[in-house]
Amino acid sequence: MASQIWITGYGIVSAIGVGKDAVLRSLLSSSTGISSLRYLNTSHHEFPVGEVKMDNGEMASCLGIGKTEPMNRTALMGMLALQEALQEAGLSADGIGLISGTTVGGMDKSEQYYLDYLQNDSRNDYIKIHDCGATTELMADCLGRFAFMTTISTACSSAANAILLGANMLRSGELPCVVVGGSECLTKFHLNGFNSLMILDKDLCRPFDRSRAGLNLGEGAAYLVLENAEHAVARGVKPLAVLSGYGNACDAYHQTASSPDGDGAYRAMSAALRMAGMDASQVDYVNAHGTGTPNNDSSESAAMRRVWPGNMPPVSSTKSFTGHTTSASGAIEAAICLLAMQHRFLPPNLHFADADPDCVIPVSQLRTGVELRHVLCNSFGFGGNDTSFLLSKPEAGSKLAFLAKEGEVKVYAAKCIAAQNSLAPLCQFPSESLETPFQRAADPDFKGYMPPLEARRLGRLMKRAVVTSKEALSEAGLEMPEAILTGTGLGCIETTEFFLDSLCKEGEQLLKPTCFMQSTHNTIGSAVATQIGCHGYNVTYAHKEMSFDSALYDGVLQLRLGDIRTVLVGGHDELTLSYYKLLEKTGFLGLEGESACEASTSFVLAADGCLDARPLCVVKGIRLLYCPEERALRQAIGCLLADAGMTMSDLSGVVLSVNGNADHDAPALALCRALFADVPLLHYKHLFGESYAASGLGFYVSVACLATAKIPDALYLDPARRSHVAPKALMLFNTTDNKCCSLTLLSQVKTE
């Protein structure tokens, strides 16, 4: 079956205006929103920035939010844009999905209150809204009851990748309608980070110009409503544009720099065109990533010249208007492209004066009255996470394949570094409960897994990710996966914390660029890609305890769609003592004297018949839900079982996310008993500890049980239910914070 993905609404908040009307006005008058600093409290006044011209109070009052609630700027901007998008589409949040991209999350507040976090309890509320996933939930909860939610964090391509996941969900029929995009506010943290990388220009940025000397940072948010055509027609809604194709590829070259020939960019653009079934010559305009750094613009130009060896379509970078809005940029630029298509103009690349032989020559003057049938929008991120998508006028859009492939998704390898488990075989996992509240992982010897010169640039967590990935691939007998999906709640928190600590204690100078580079969540997944040379689809999820589940969900989705045949899925989080103390004092993750741990898990999944290795188990299905009522959970469980041709009695156990804290576990246990009647309940966190990436451990444990045909005694919550019968199927139920939850159904591999 083939159908179209329609865009039926969008909203935008940026330096050139809050709302589409204001943005359109600025674009058509070639007025840049980049100016000297006004809102961000930093000493770096030498850098022009693209700030949204409203303070937090003004935004909150626009949204009708009280001053006392803990809020961060990313969430406030996001809400304004989300509201506009939903309004235009004529939808409420109820029952639809939200996929948001952000990297900064609540860092604006954390850098403001960091010293309070350490010294007193006055700002504890803000610790809870520090991370990316919490920021997404914060904005979503103010607008209604979304049915699905996750957060993508691939640095500057985050919002673009949110569009991709949303489109894949529509294509596989998971939901008829999703809101996708991103939000990112300016912070001292990343302003100083970019400054430490010496890629900020003290003048207005000049993408593609010979004299370009760096980027100007910006901030903003934008969201698009993606809807499958049938659903929109049924509602009587017309498309504003059609999403005709998209591609995601990894440059796999360097942590921050792009390859000279723009390999990842070329692959992403080509993939988008291929998916749309279009020839490059049909593209009427390219909205380039065009940050204004010498490296990006020449690399992107090289890639564009490969896609268009002959006539180049008009190109411009609208970052000359908005500044580089980092994680939000993909959606902000999509919104600008939509405005350009609807209102028939080519947005100019401001401040371009002098052509660079290494670069394309962009459109430097506004052109109106231009028919834009197909527009390609580029969005690239640190770590070479490159994404391109193609937007078309409604009458010109492509149809995309909307179908699920027959055949099963199987797990072929599972590797783990957590607590005492250091790459142990599946049959040996810890059987003793932990004693210490703060559980560092027992690292293997990393030597031999990666060249020393490269290893020194990788933090502990990245090394663990590389090692578990390489081990998993080797176990599955797979040289190169077609996709790498990573889940991490906090990313490399050790270096992030180091950078924040120096920033807050020593001031805005002499900060280490290496630490900043490692503060982006996707640095883990891109390090894995670089180490194994994988140019395939590469996305990182950062949604609290759902990070790994989201990565797994995306992997299964794409395998089912037949877009990929093999995938490497990982869940990785580390812990520092001081972050542990923050978690403990806020009672977050349910930690009150309970153990916290570090966890790195990597899995190889593949469509049936693609790998020669012996499969460990079958993934029958996975569902992610947001704040479901009991009825919705029942329905989801019923569907999962029915789709797998199973009933409740086929389940050998339900693997729970309880962590031993009685208060925290009580509601989850009550719910499970109601939902799963007398299926034995299993738990695993008492063996490893609690972590944002713990659900990866849950998955690891479940895979191990099914692969070894045995559920160890230590897993049973109720010793009386112990059984030595080989398990047939397990349901993983992750509901750590009683908001996001996931259900994953695994079964044993049938022997013939």
Binding site: L197, M198, H254, T256, L453, L510, K512, P513, T514
Partner: protein, 85 residues
């Protein structure tokens, strides 16, 4: 000057996290980047921070680094003549 070279080697190993390399492994006249030690642009940025922190030498253009970080000896000479602390 001759004191500075071994000191620099030690510091660079520390700053750039060059595990497993001893000061003796680094030839003070060999190129730090590309064929020699194989450092890259991020290392150059780290060295720029190092220069400012330890010697009060401010480099605002990453391209200046290319000349100054040619080898340990060139670097030492540059520090000798430009240091403000």
């Amino acid at each position: 000057m001759e004191d500075l070279i071994p000191y620099l080697k030690k510091e660079i190993i520390e700053v750039l996290n060059l595990n497993d390399i001893t000061p003796d492994d680094i030839d003070e006249d060999a190129s730090l980047f590309n064929e020699g030690l194989g450092l890259d642009s991020i290392d150059a940025l780290e060295l720029i921070v190092f220069m400012e922190k330890n010697y009060g030498i401010k480099l605002s253009n990453p391209n200046e680094g290319k000349e100054i970080f040619k080898s340990i000896r060139v670097m030492a000479e540059y520090i000798q003549t430009h240091r403000t602390k």
